[in-house]
Subunit: 244 residues, 2 copies
Amino acid sequence: MSEAGKPIVEVCLTPALFYQYNTKESIVVAIDILRATSSICVALQYGARSIVPVMTVEESFQYKEKGYLIGAERQGSMVEGFDLGNSPFSYMEDKIIGRDIALTTTNGTKAINIANGSAGIVAGSFLNLDVLAAWLIEQNKDVLCLCAGWKNTFNLEDTLFAGALSQKLLPHFQLSEHRDSAIAAMNLYNLAKHDMYDFLKDSSHRTRLERLKIDEDVLYCLTPNQTLVVPVLKDGVLKKHSDW
Amino acid sequence: MSEAGKPIVEVCLTPALFYQYNTKESIVVAIDILRATSSICVALQYGARSIVPVMTVEESFQYKEKGYLIGAERQGSMVEGFDLGNSPFSYMEDKIIGRDIALTTTNGTKAINIANGSAGIVAGSFLNLDVLAAWLIEQNKDVLCLCAGWKNTFNLEDTLFAGALSQKLLPHFQLSEHRDSAIAAMNLYNLAKHDMYDFLKDSSHRTRLERLKIDEDVLYCLTPNQTLVVPVLKDGVLKKHSDW
């Protein structure tokens, strides 16, 4: 924490740059707007008991044998043999109530897992923006917004959310010396916020997802405050903060 | 080059992400607005014969023994025993006319050197924006804008220039699949362009340079089209494109 007494908020634009940050004393907000961290918020809001982020499809099947529902996405699509995909809507069904879920996605679970060793790890999305900001302010610890990106490259939608969250935190937080990414993210968010769907129309991920015909997913994932959960990771498991 | 026949323009936000691009067939534009690539443009405009980007202070002194003028900047300041610093104004003096210069800076020379093995390497700054854009359009090759950043971290001023250049190129170029960084850079440039000095007022580099009292340098480096040179690197040496 800084001399001025306020905790610091920083933005890491892709997991490839994560090594530049020391997060031993920080809470890391993993951000994969399209669609892992959005779906995680939805699943916990709609009654899933817990979510285990796993790295590989093979590992997922081991969890299935233990009675977990398993969800996966690779290259934007669902994977054969899995119970759930990566669409937030698939996590609104009754079958998930009270269940433990193992989830593996191209970028989101990776971002969550590389943050291991941080003071805290939570999942952030537009769907839990306000409740997450309020919870982070309450924790009074430094925060790193970690954009999952696409295979370690920069992406726009995660950056927009990092900007939205940084801006919500700033009255109670301050920028660090490495502040340029947070300034860029906030400026981009303010430019985009009145119509993020339109702002992202030429972005790589929307172009990619359009081929998969999941425009409804994209629209939903860009809608702030559809859930009231803060997914907190402990011992490799995500649960609502109130369930820990 | 793409099927549509237009070459591609991409933006690499920091040297730490350079490994994500294949530049064997591309021209890399090294960008270190504050102040290496700005000073390189000025030096060649004002009569220096050539500039050798070197990595270390020790290497610079070897060039001094061979009769080169040597310029250096470390942590934003000049280095003892050097003839020149990193201020563009120090490269407007008569003593540089006809001379060869060895230059080492914190970020700029590093960005130029990691691009080794690309189809071409040039130095870009606001000071040569229009002439550089025209020259790149003429080459009709893919272009990667490589932001030098600050010690491998993202910075705003290099990103603004990458946005300005991408926008100038776009009618003749197209975006790649990894387009989000170019879209972000262009949006930030459009937001900033009417008063870049003000836009950067909270940025890390301006804060750093303010301590060094070089506001005039910053203002000058943000002024488009003060020179008519395209510094082209061949065999480790930068010269005006017309001198090769």
